[in-house]
């Protein structure tokens, strides 16, 4: 049986969905120049509209403030010390139906999705080294498992790069994809989290059965489903995500797509039902061989490998499960790589111009870049505050000083982003 889902809810837009094609020719109702509207309701990009000269006729301030805005968007993150599910098992479900062939995202939905999915996989394993991932695609009413749950990023990216795996056709089947992921996640040990992340372009689904039954079994098995919608909000997607405590977002444009996709990279806050347990892990030693030897995992000739401490078989890379005795093989740096999720760096507070004193340091604590002085006339530039969203008009540039609440050192915007995104150490706090 095939059933069509409820029609998508329209977002605050002046036009209906069907009207877009017709309106394209007329072009009098220009909007979305700031790139903030849904990309499917956009007609022309007038990027020059947001540039407005200031009183001296200069564009510098506006350009700088746009750059600052872009950087600041990703800044505030959750720094509460909460229990997180560090060991994750995630299925990435990609819709490969006809709806993926649309061109509203540049260059096309499918190209954009595949590029972001590859980036996502790299970043996912970088931040979750003990986790596993698998890929499922759905097209022609079927679901197909591209890769099993493994911890090796290259398996996944090479599967995504295959030409035959990038051809959108037919209808998607949400239920088939969810069921396939659910059965594959069934044997996952109870200490790991079970998650499904769906990138869904279509507004319909072609299902063999009632999808709400699938939802019930997902809930029963504590599988968290998150979705990223590419066209418009769909009721059944929202219901599934809400009921399984996942997140549901609809993309506005390419950049927003990346943002909401990458929100799924940090490990989610652990739910209470999950049981904690002690996992047996092996810490293999490295060994160099005089003569090339076969590795147990890929049967390739290697000279340098890791030896499983329990069964002495040789594997060529870690982390992995020993192919002979299925012991989890890790190394201590891999465990250390996950620690920053447990001890996050506190968000820095921005200091407004009003709070800047002459006794304050004149340069960033960690990279020595000089802070710029206060603007000559404060009147024509609004003071920057955290909630200031420009909305296309020129806004004042903030003082560019960010203070760590713990060590009270001041950092520039670049360092703020770098410290929280990459380094995960406050340079001020580790120096005391």
């Amino acid at each position: 049986m095939s059933h069509t889902l409820k029609p998508p809810k329209r977002k605050s837009s002046a036009k209906g969905i069907g009207a877009i094609d017709i309106d394209d020719d007329e072009g009098h109702d220009l909007m979305g120049a700031s790139g903030q509207g849904y990309s499917w309701e956009e007609e022309y990009k007038r990027s020059w509209d947001i540039l407005q000269e200031d009183e001296q006729g200069s564009l510098q301030g506006v350009v700088a403030s746009i750059q600052q805005q872009l950087k600041r968007r990703r800044l505030h993150r959750d720094t509460a010390t909460v229990q997180r599910g560090i060991i994750r098992h995630l299925y990435l479900v990609i819709d490969l139906s006809r709806a993926m062939a649309e061109l509203d995202l540049k260059p096309s939905r499918i190209e954009c999705t595949m590029r972001l999915a590859e980036e996502f996989i790299g970043e996912y394993f970088d931040q979750n080294p003990l986790s596993q991932l698998g890929i499922i695609i759905t097209r022609d009413g079927l679901a197909e498992q591209l890769t099993e749950l493994t911890g090796n990023p290259t398996d996944h990216t090479s599967a995504l790069q295959k030409r035959s795996n990038r051809e959108p056709k037919g209808e998607p089947s949400l239920q088939n994809a969810l069921e396939l992921a659910r059965t594959s996640l069934a044997h996952v040990p109870s200490h790991g989290s079970r998650e499904i992340l769906v990138l869904y372009a279509s507004l319909t689904t072609c299902d063999p059965d009632n999808i709400l039954d699938t939802l019930e079994s997902l809930k029963r098995e504590c599988i968290r489903v998150s979705m990223v919608g590419l066209s418009a909000e769909v009721q059944v997607c929202r219901t599934i995500c809400r009921e399984t405590k996942g997140t549901y977002n609809v993309v506005l444009n390419e950049m927003h797509y990346k943002d909401i996709l990458f929100e799924n990279i940090p490990p989610p806050v652990a739910t209470a039902q999950r049981t904690a347990s002690l996992i047996q892990m092996g810490f293999p030693t490295t060994r160099t061989y005089e003569e090339p030897t076969l590795c147990a995992c890929h049967h390739k000739l290697i000279r340098k490998g890791y030896v499983c401490p329990r069964c002495s078989s040789t594997v060529c890379e870690i982390p992995t499960d020993c192919p002979v005795c299925s012991l989890t093989l890790v190394s201590s740096p891999l465990l250390a790589r996950s620690y920053h999720h447990l001890f996050p760096v506190e968000n820095y507070k921005e200091i407004g111009w009003a709070g800047v004193l002459s006794t304050m340091p004149k340069h960033c604590f960690s990279c020595l870049v000089p802070f710029h002085g206060p603007p000559q006339s404060m009147s024509h530039r609004r003071l920057s505050t955290a909630g200031n969203t420009g909305g296309g008009t020129a806004i004042g540039i903030g003082s560019g000083r960010f203070e760590c609440p713990k060590c009270k050192e001041q950092f520039c915007l670049e360092c703020d982003a770098y410290v929280h995104d990459v380094l995960h150490n406050c340079p001020g706090c580790v120096n005391r």
Binding site: Q83, I86, I87, D126, L130, S190, H191, G192, A270, T275, A276, S277, L278, I279, Q280, M281, G282, F283, P284, T285, T286, T288, P309, R310, L327, V330, S331, S332, P333, L335, A336, R337, S338, Y339, H340, L342, F343, P361, K362, H363, S366, C367, L368, V369, P370, E414, C415, Y418, V419, V422, L423, H424, N425, C426, P427, V430, N431, R432
Partner: protein
């Protein structure tokens, strides 16, 4: 991408822990003299600057209670730059500037240091590495899109600090991510300088070079031959490698190194035996 097109940034982290240096200076067989080491290091730094006109440099001192930029000089310095007449006419200006800045800031650092009783025997290695990373990030962004080849050279004498483990590892991963190599030049004699655990890992993970220098008199030779060549040149050189890097972990309960351990799924603490409750995060373990 050949090495010709990119900018070379060298970050030098000098361990200036006075206690470690004092211990090393009292070694009976081959005493380690900070002044001699510094002289040779400055020659090395000048050699780096001389290799190419746009080579970048940052020098950071890792002291007992703070990390300090020795070069480039900090902006807060109110004193006037020495006027041109005081500069020797036969010296390349950049060499002179670097040498002056490093020596002057080091002198200030040592004179303002607290009395020996207050100094604790630790070195802010993680802090210095963090500063080096953020500085490298700044230079990388400033030169975008020209690629930047960055590396960090650590001159280390003091022992590892277990409390800085997580911070140090974070620095190593950040370096690994942007392709910064971490080279370590460690002074180790019979009676000073314990074996380091963190630093060989840092080199191994970032593709850098780890060397233990038995005699500081020959430091310059090590520096010029092993640490000066850029990564491209190193691939054709035959450099000593640390053959075995120990990636085994010590359990949290008895501090013994384990082959097969038990890891708490919540806080990732490592234990050598099974228990009902995690001693670190107090989580009750459910059915196995």
């Amino acid at each position: 991408m050949t090495s010709e097109e990119s900018i070379n940034l060298l970050a030098v982290v000098i361990d200036t822990n006075p206690i470690a240096w004092a211990t090393a200076a009292q070694d009976s067989r081959c005493p380690l003299d900070f002044g001699r080491v510094l002289e040779q290091l400055l020659i090395f730094i000048n050699a780096h600057l001389a290799l190419r006109f746009d080579n970048e440099l940052v020098v950071i001192a890792s002291h007992t209670n703070q990390s300090l930029f020795l070069y480039p000089p900090q902006l807060s310095d109110t004193d006037q730059p020495p006027d041109a007449s005081s500069k020797p006419a036969n010296t390349y200006k950049q060499f002179f500037d670097v040498n002056q800045a490093v020596i002057k800031t080091l002198k200030d650092l040592i004179t303002e240091s607290k009395s020996p009783e207050d100094v604790d025997d630790k070195s802010m290695l993680a802090g210095s590495l963090s500063l080096a990373q953020t500085y490298i990030n700044r230079i990388r962004r400033a030169n975008d899109p020209t690629p930047l080849q960055s590396r960090i050279l650590i001159l280390s004498v003091s022992p590892d600090l277990p409390s800085q483990y997580v911070a140090t590892m974070n620095c190593i991963f950040a370096a690994q991510r942007v392709g910064t190599r971490i080279d370590v030049c460690r002074f180790r004699g019979k009676h000073y300088g314990e074996e380091s655990v963190f630093l060989p890992q840092a080199c191994h993970l970032t593709g850098g070079l780890y060397m233990e220098i038995p005699e500081a008199e020959n430091l310059l030779q090590y520096l010029l031959y092993a640490f000066l060549p850029d990564p491209y040149m190193r691939s054709v050189l035959c450099l000593p490698e640390k053959d075995q890097v120990d990636f085994r972990a010590a359990c949290f309960c008895h501090k013994t190194v384990v082959d097969v351990g038990y890891v708490c799924s919540v806080c990732l603490s490592i234990f050598c035996s099974v228990s009902k409750q995690c001693p670190t995060c107090q989580t009750q373990f459910g059915g196995q």
